[in-house]
Amino acid sequence: MTATRERTPRALLGGKTAVVTGAARGLGRACAVRFAEEGADLVLVDVGGDLPGVPYPLGSGSQLEHTAKLCRAHGAAVVTVTADVRRPEAVEEAARQTLERFGTVDVLLNNAGIAAPSGKAVHEIAEDEWDLMVGIDLTGAWRMTKAVVPAMVRQRSGSVINVASTAGLVGYRHFAGYVAAKHGLIGLTKAAALDYAPFRVRVNALCPGSVRDDPLNEGRMLAEIARSLEVDVDEHEEIFVQSQPMNSLIEPQDIAGAAVWLAGDDSRQVTGTTLTVDGGFSAR
């Protein structure tokens, strides 16, 4: 823990400030830590508690602080913000704190999202279930973008990364809300890319396939999808491994690597695109 890495100017995100939502655990944590490794300072946003209607525990405040600690170990300066992406005031406060603390905002990773309530056919989904899913997975990303992008436009640089899913590319049985939200997120990505291209602010989507819930990042996504489908997690993993031609699950690190590329200047001409990291799943 006491080993602090010398931050070199060659770091891919050196000097940048990144806002990561859903940062308490899972992909959000993996990306945040990787961003820190690459020299970024971080604003870590998470709801930090359970939400009514979501049938599984969400990231907690202590998990968020743990992500912060992991980032600081890489030399990053970190601010943690507890905010529900459905609440405009909370989202705006997160954006304001980012500028107060760091003076700049260069990367926004819209990662906050839920996978359940799911497991129902379209006509079985309740009104509030639909609103909850779309409100977090799609509207939450729009709201964060709305709060953060004006500063990026003023500084004429920035990269917004929307974490979608292969469910943004194809349908899945009994996941209509999730699939619709993620398809919508890709649509939002393309439209926002066009809105902000003149200001050199880039907006891209990242589509992970099935990502392992590794214990280090305390991910819950795969488990929740399995539960929604009423199958055993191990069995579910097996099904997904078989569906991905590279014959393995995606690791959180694989997504973090793609996110670093989209966040950094190596992708400076990339906007409005969808980067799929799915072991070949969508190539079939």
Partner: protein, 903 residues
């Protein structure tokens, strides 16, 4: 944006001993800000970071420094407070504020200035900075190593910085004859001192705090001193890495410290005795400019004919020369040269004499050159295209009693000078043998005349061993050998030919002699390169640009493996299309900076595609055996990066200027640093930390036009020698900025009698070689001068095209041209072909062209000829030989020439 934000903020780091009560600290900060900043104070927050290392860990310092350099957002509060809590309980409080916020840290109160600090102009990067533009916006920091015992005051620190900047050539000049105490006393009285390009700030030091007056230097470099209670000071130099490289910053800080130390130590000394560099640093800078000799010291001291004889013995049957259909083997060349030498002896020419050489580029030129050397004499090459008066001056100045001239183009008669042809010499030599000459490498090999600012060319005397050393310096690196094919492209009066001829013949290669008209026609020359399988090519950058163009359009493969650029500065960007077709590993491109006075070349830099992107002015490090240094106008050694006069020492330094002892003493000096002779080149340059040189142009009015070295003062003096000219100026212009092919010299005259400018031009044409003749002469009431009495080039009007003063119809040349033109085309309707040609000419010459105009009088030159011919071909017009272009250079005649070719 963040850069200007950084410039608008300052910061303070205060060490807070543990245990730290963050909530109490936040309360005190808010209370402290409330008086001056009531609204932000209420929202002020203490940001906390718990860090996993102790306060004395190096990471703590880095982390606090990074935090102290983090600018505020334009819309954020004017003050930010961050508490870095370390693992041992201590903390650093980092305060960042906009300039209007003042910190009074003991009470944690924050004042208010009347407004933002005056907006400073962002100064251009200093020439000495050697910064990396890719790093612009990043800040570096080096300590100023002031001697610990030195008691300083503000004047001393300011004075040290002033003197250093003056020596660097970017500050205001300082009178160095004054005593240090007087200098400092005047500064104490002065009300602040502006330092160009540098900000200087001196604060009283306070224990336990670190202050940044600007988060990013508002100027390329910022000196910040802290004065301590005991009278000593510490300082740092913070610099923008885009403007000032770390090594240069470190040296600069060192110089300020060293100078401050000397000023403090002895107030009675005059400033000119103050050293910028320590002895150790000066020695290191000198060493950096030295490249030790390679190869054989014995071979490097020999004569050209001696070394040639060795090669001829080793490979008698190898072809040495190709000229058109004829070729000579090494044995044949050797034998013919022997006869030539014998002929000279028969004429009574003594060894040690200078012999004029005025031949076209053909086999006889090389045979005779070698013959002259074999006779123990030195050759004085002259270009037959020069005006007679210049040729005559050269022969008389050299004191040559014999000139070898061609049978077809006779040399102008000069009293007491015998002109013989190569054939006559050989006949004279039949049956005679040459007395064996001693191998004296210090004997003169040739005298080449270069443009002289007094209005007369000056002869540079170069000994054999200089050329031999040049070969030793390059032979191995360039892999020169028997399988190479070289061209002799350049006039023997231009010293690039020395390299072409002897570089080839002393390494056993084959020298292809390029006919004058082929050198003027890129297509023909490209064909020759392909046909002869030329492997080593030497070109001026402007000429090579034409080859790059031709090469793009032709399918044939070149065999080139080495291209050497010389004669003028290389703009590497033109090589982009070349590298797109040729790998730099197959064909090496070497940029060589050189001067006639230091034997053709001084440095070599292999150009890569990366250089094209960087678009720098690197000419490389000194050749093995040559030395480089950069000095100020008083001859003092300058530090790395600082531009000054390029001085060249070592194996290439010529003997002298012929018959000009004063000029020789002025330019060829004994090096005050460690002895040896060095040549003060008059070229401006700076030395890089890797020992390579950047060439930055001239200190005087010398210019380069298509490889020709021209003293504008020479042209000016020739103009002034016309009886009616009262004042004159000559300037270099480009029709298309940045396009060296369109370089032209324009002249301005103030006349005291009523003569036409055409008359003045005719006078210049009678004395100056064609490449020096102005493209225009414009009459002015008086030549505008600057305050310093120099020609104020900015005040000169646009040049008028060189047209006769009395109107076109009276011009005899135009009248004859008119007679040849079809009636009715002059000012009336032009046919399509005429329109096309006039359009092409007009485009190339950047002016309107009529049928009566002469291409060369409108500023045309050899490169523009090539350009027009190429554009004609692209438009599907018939091919015209370059030679015919020169012979039909009025538009009317040229149109008819093309019309005839169409049929």
């Amino acid at each position: 944006m963040s850069r200007s934000q950084a410039r608008s903020c300052h910061s303070l780091v205060i060490r807070v001993p543990g245990p730290v009560d963050a909530a109490e600290l936040e309360r005190r900060l808010r209370a402290g800000a409330a008086a001056s900043w009531p609204e932000p104070a209420a929202r002020l927050r203490l940001w906390e970071e718990a860090l996993p290392f102790t306060a004395d860990h190096p990471a703590a310092r880095r982390r606090a420094a990074a935090e102290a350099e983090r600018p505020l957002h334009t819309e954020a509060l004017p003050l930010r407070a961050v508490l870095l809590r370390y693992a041992d309980g201590d903390a650093d409080l980092v305060l960042v504020g906009r300039h209007e916020v003042t910190f009074d840290e003991p009470r944690f109160t924050f004042g208010r200035t009347s407004g933002a600090a005056a907006r400073q102009e962002v100064a251009a990067p200093p020439e000495w900075g050697l910064g990396d533009p890719a790093l612009a916006g990043r800040t570096g920091e080096v300590p100023v190593p002031l001697p610990a015992a030195v008691r300083t005051d503000d004047a001393l620190l300011t004075g040290a910085a002033l003197l250093v900047l003056a020596r660097y050539g970017t500050g205001r000049p300082v009178d160095e004859s004054q005593r240090a105490t007087d200098f400092l006393a005047a500064l104490r009285k002065a009300d602040g001192e502006a330092l160009p390009g540098i900000a200087l700030r001196i604060d009283a030091a306070r224990p336990g705090e670190r202050r940044l007056p600007n988060l990013a230097p508002a100027v390329p470099a910022e000196l910040h001193f802290l004065r301590h209670e005991d009278g000593t000071a510490t300082g740092v130099l913070r610099h923008d890495l885009g403007a000032v490289a770390p090594v240069v910053a470190e040296r600069f800080a060192g110089h300020v410290a060293h100078v401050a130390g000397q000023l403090a130590e002895d107030g009675g000394r005059t400033l000119d005795t103050v050293e910028l560099m320590t002895a150790g640093e000066a020695e290191a800078v000198l060493r950096l400019g030295v490249t030790p000799p390679v190869g054989s010291p014995e071979a490097a001291g020999r004569t050209l004919h001696g070394r040639f004889a060795d090669v001829a013995r080793q490979r008698p049957d190898a072809v040495a020369l190709t000229a058109g259909d004829t070729s000579l083997t090494y044995a044949e060349l050797d034998a013919r040269a022997e006869r030539t030498a014998a002929g000279l002896a028969a004429l009574g020419v003594e060894p040690g004499s200078l012999v004029g050489l005025a031949l076209e580029r053909n086999a006889d030129l090389v045979v005779t050159m070698l013959g002259i050397l074999k006779a123990g004499c030195a050759y004085v090459p002259m270009d037959l295209r020069y005006p007679q008066e210049r040729l005559r001056y050269t022969v008389e100045n050299a004191g040559a009693s014999v000139v070898v001239g061609g049978a077809d183009e006779p040399f102008p008669p000069i009293d007491g000078v015998r002109v013989v042809t190569p054939a006559e010499l050989r006949t004279l030599g039949d049956g005679h043998t040459v007395p064996a000459q001693s191998e004296d490498g210090s004997a003169t090999a040739y005298v080449i005349y270069t443009s002289g600012s007094t209005g007369r060319p000056k002869g540079v005397v170069v000994p054999h061993r200089n050329v031999a050393a040049l070969l030793e310096a390059t032979r191995e690196d360039f892999g020169l050998g028997g399988s190479d094919v070289w061209t002799l492209f350049h006039s023997s009066a231009f010293d690039f030919s020395v390299w072409e001829i002897w570089g080839c013949l002393l390494t056993g290669g084959r020298l292809v002699i390029v006919d004058y008209w082929v050198t003027r026609d890129t297509d023909l020359f490209h064909e020759l390169l392909v046909r002869e399988g030329v492997t080593v090519l030497n070109q001026t950058p402007s000429a090579f640009a034409q080859i790059v163009e031709a090469d793009r359009q032709r399918p044939e493969e070149l065999s080139l493996r080495l291209v050497v650029f010389g004669g003028e500065p290389l703009d590497v960007r033109m090589l982009g299309p070349w590298f797109a077709r040729h790998s730099h590993t197959d064909c090496r491109l070497v940029n060589m900076f050189g001067i006639t006075e230091t034997t053709v070349h001084v440095t070599a830099h292999t150009v890569t595609p990366a250089d094209v992107l960087a678009a720098g002015r690197k000419v490389g490090a000194a050749l093995p055996g040559w030395t480089l240094s950069v000095r100020d106008p008083r001859g003092r050694l300058l530090p790395l990066g600082v531009p000054g006069e390029i001085c060249v020492g070592g194996s290439g330094v010529a003997d002298r200027y012929l018959g000009q002892p004063e000029l020789t003493t002025e330019r060829f000096i004994t090096d005050p640093y460690g002895g040896g002779r060095i040549y003060r080149s008059g070229d401006r340059g700076r030395l890089r930390p890797d020992g390579s040189l950047d060439h930055l142009g001239r200190l005087d009015s010398q210019v380069k036009v298509r490889g020709h070295r021209i003293e504008l003062d020479e042209i000016r003096n020739v103009l002034l020698s016309h009886p009616a000219v009262a004042g004159a100026a000559a300037v270099l212009n480009h029709d298309t900025p940045g396009d060296s092919a369109t370089a032209r010299i324009d002249a301005y005259v103030a006349l005291r009698a009523a003569v036409s400018t055409t008359d003045v031009l005719a006078h210049a044409r009678g004395v100056l070689p064609a490449y020096m003749v102005p493209a225009s002469v414009t009459e002015l009431p008086a030549i505008p001068l600057t305050i310093n009495g120099k020609v104020d080039t900015a005040a000169l009007p646009a040049p008028e095209a060189a047209r006769p003063a009395g109107g076109r119809s009276t011009d005899p040349d135009a009248a004859t041209g008119e007679a040849a033109e079809p009636a009715g085309t002059l000012d009336g309707e032009h046919d399509r072909l005429t329109e096309q040609i006039l359009g092409l000419w007009g485009h190339a010459l950047n002016t309107e062209v009529t049928l009566k105009d002469n291409f060369f009088e409108l500023g045309g030159n050899s490169l523009l000829v090539i350009r027009v011919l190429r554009e004609m071909r692209e438009k599907g017009l018939p091919k015209v030989a370059t030679q015919d272009f020169y012979r039909n250079s009025t538009a009317g005649r040229f149109v008819e020439l093309v019309r005839d070719a169409q049929v």
